[in-house]
Symmetry: C2
Subunit: 374 residues, 2 copies
């Protein structure tokens, strides 16, 4: 490499990409702070954990991981197909929604193609669009929710290849009714594919998800075992769509990428419907609790169809960032939206009684500290 | 999509890619056959399994997988850095070597760029090159081994961006001494980066691997917990190189892709050096056993620096394919090289006494059946 810049080895695209990451992990923050968090309620993880049967399945297969996982994830794919009453060819299992979103951008976006999302929506999607040289066009949120009509309109004016909609939404916890999503689909131009991220769907009210129709070539739907099923650390999500679209993933995916443990655990988790019901009840209780704590401190919360709650700190982004910093200084891991006006909020994931007690103690202190600084 | 071909949605590149997969999994074969294999010695998995401490680590963290894994894999990266006496910035952890090879092609290969490998070498590398529109140029094996001098020469004449060398080699089990690899590096043109796949290194004789020098910008070295450490099903590998090259992966990787279980298990596996010694001894015994069984059947085997042995079936590819088919019909999962003249061999992974007894019983039958058909 004498006399050449190191980056000369990279492709022009790779050389042009920023080295930023979509999210800093809480472990990194803990190392920088020099001590662990007391409450981990910042990444919308499911602290109530996977079902005991999923844990038992993991322990049972621990000795078998010398074998590669089934590259077709046949058992899991068929179990999901049964569960959803769709053909297995309409499902592809992947390394979490994050991995599947990356493959989706790679399959559908040429360099320079327009992709539409909402300003302040899921940053990992944007990261993948940048990574394949897509041209990202952002539409504002409307009343703290993603705006399907505006997204469809932008898709039309930009001639977008993809448009991203999370329903329910992260980071606000808001949602659109199924009919609104269906109306959005009807407005999309022929060349636009809807990426409908339903990671939080299990926490949402009935009527949030349009019925699944795998003959529809206008959308792909992304779901996961990371949230309601409590398997975030294992990396297993899936995408639902027309079999001709789903077959595309086989052209570019890492075939042995979905690990054996994840396949076993997801299969076990899917079989235990009662446990999921318990988790949903506990999440619901925690959402109420967070709203109650906020109210005790004079703050409003946003309605949530997810396992987290956006607390409106009642002022601007700087104030909310000060509250967030004061909570983190008190060993409470939380995150917040990055874009105004949503950044007047902090985002708190559902927790157990333990985390709620820590929040009850630290939130008034954090607010007081932020007000002092303001 | 009225009136449009479904594939109109895909990028031109994605639409042009074949839907073939690098490997069919043994589970798929079992489903097609309608019964399980009796001996799974075809995918170079480590049947002796992960260390009991790694299994204990997996069981211990099973209940914690509701948390995402550390996106920096800080603990594992630092443990490897200590182990290898290199800075952690010279290591990137990834979803197996397969995943890291895909990222590597994406980082360094523009559409139409030449990439050099050996005809018959690792197909997953070729799959990734095709997936990013690289132009693959193949060099023949020489005496059943990859030919570093010819690879370097082809890299020069083709002005290749990448050249792939597995040392030890899969599927033949052959290897080149460290000095040969170093000489190859010296012959590479400035613009070529060597992808040195050392997946099987732990099984190889001393003197196979050149010393690690992370100031050298001419190569990336790929290693894994899938083989000697017995964690294939968990998907954890790593790439070693100059920190400026390694930092490139942060621009495009799936940051939360390395699962929490894999990180915990690999960390525990790395700490138990004695167990690795036991595995290597058992692999060595099994290699001898396979050679002995082959000899009893009048067949030669190739020297192996891996956890598998290539048995020379003594005739052409058609004959070896008939032997392979007859073994599979007898519930023995094995694979074989795809390119002549190496396809005169079948490839048998090390097994326990149980698998060796099955092989001892079925190999003479399979040979007899193949000879009858010939």
């Amino acid at each position: 490499m004498t006399g050449r810049l190191m980056t000369a080895r990279f492709t022009r695209l790779a050389a042009s990409l920023p080295a930023t990451v979509p999210f800093v992990g809480p472990e990194t923050q803990e190392r920088e702070r020099g001590r662990p968090f007391a409450a981990r309620i910042g990444a919308n993880e499911n602290i109530f954990g996977p079902s005991p049967k999923a844990v038992a399945a993991m322990r049972a297969v621990a000795g078998d991981v010398w074998m590669y996982g089934d590259p077709l994830a046949y058992d899991l794919r068929h179990a999901l197909a049964d569960h959803l009453s769709i053909p297995p060819e309409a499902i592809m299992i992947g390394e979490g929604i994050d991995g599947l979103l990356g493959l989706t951008v790679r399959l559908f976006v040429e360099p320079g193609d327009a992709v539409v999302t909402s300003a302040g929506a899921y940053p990992t999607f944007n990261y993948h669009v940048a990574g394949f040289a897509g041209r990202l066009e952002c539409v504002p949120y409307r009343d703290d929710a993603e705006d399907p009509a505006a997204l469809a309109e932008a898709a039309r004016t930009q001639d977008a290849r993809l448009v991203y909609l999370a329903n329910p939404d992260n980071p606000m916890g808001s949602w659109n009714d199924a009919g609104v999503v269906t109306a959005m689909l009807e407005r999309l131009p022929d060349g636009t594919l809807l990426c409908l991220d339903e990671a939080y769907l299990e926490f949402a009210p009935e009527g949030t998800a349009p019925p699944i129709d795998v003959s529809d070539t206008r959308l792909l739907r992304f779901r996961t075992f990371s949230k309601a099923y409590g398997l975030a650390g294992l990396r297993v999500g899936y995408v639902i769509g027309h079999p001709d679209l789903i077959a595309g993933f086989d052209r570019i995916r890492n075939h042995f990428g979905v690990n054996r443990m994840a396949q076993a655990a997801a299969l076990a988790a899917l079989a235990v419907r009662e446990y999921l019901g318990q988790v949903l009840r506990r999440v619901d209780e925690s959402r109420e609790r967070i709203a109650g704590l906020a109210a005790e401190n004079g703050l409003a919360t946003l309605p949530s169809a997810t396992n987290f709650v956006a607390i409106d700190c009642g002022a601007d982004g700087d104030f909310a960032r000060a509250v967030l910093a004061a909570l983190i200084a008190r060993d409470v891991f939380v995150r917040m939206p990055g874009v105004a006006p949503m950044d007047r909020c902090i985002r708190v994931s559902a927790g157990t009684e333990r985390e709620m007690e820590i929040l009850a103690r630290t939130l008034p202190e954090a607010l007081a500290e932020a007000r002092e600084r303001a």
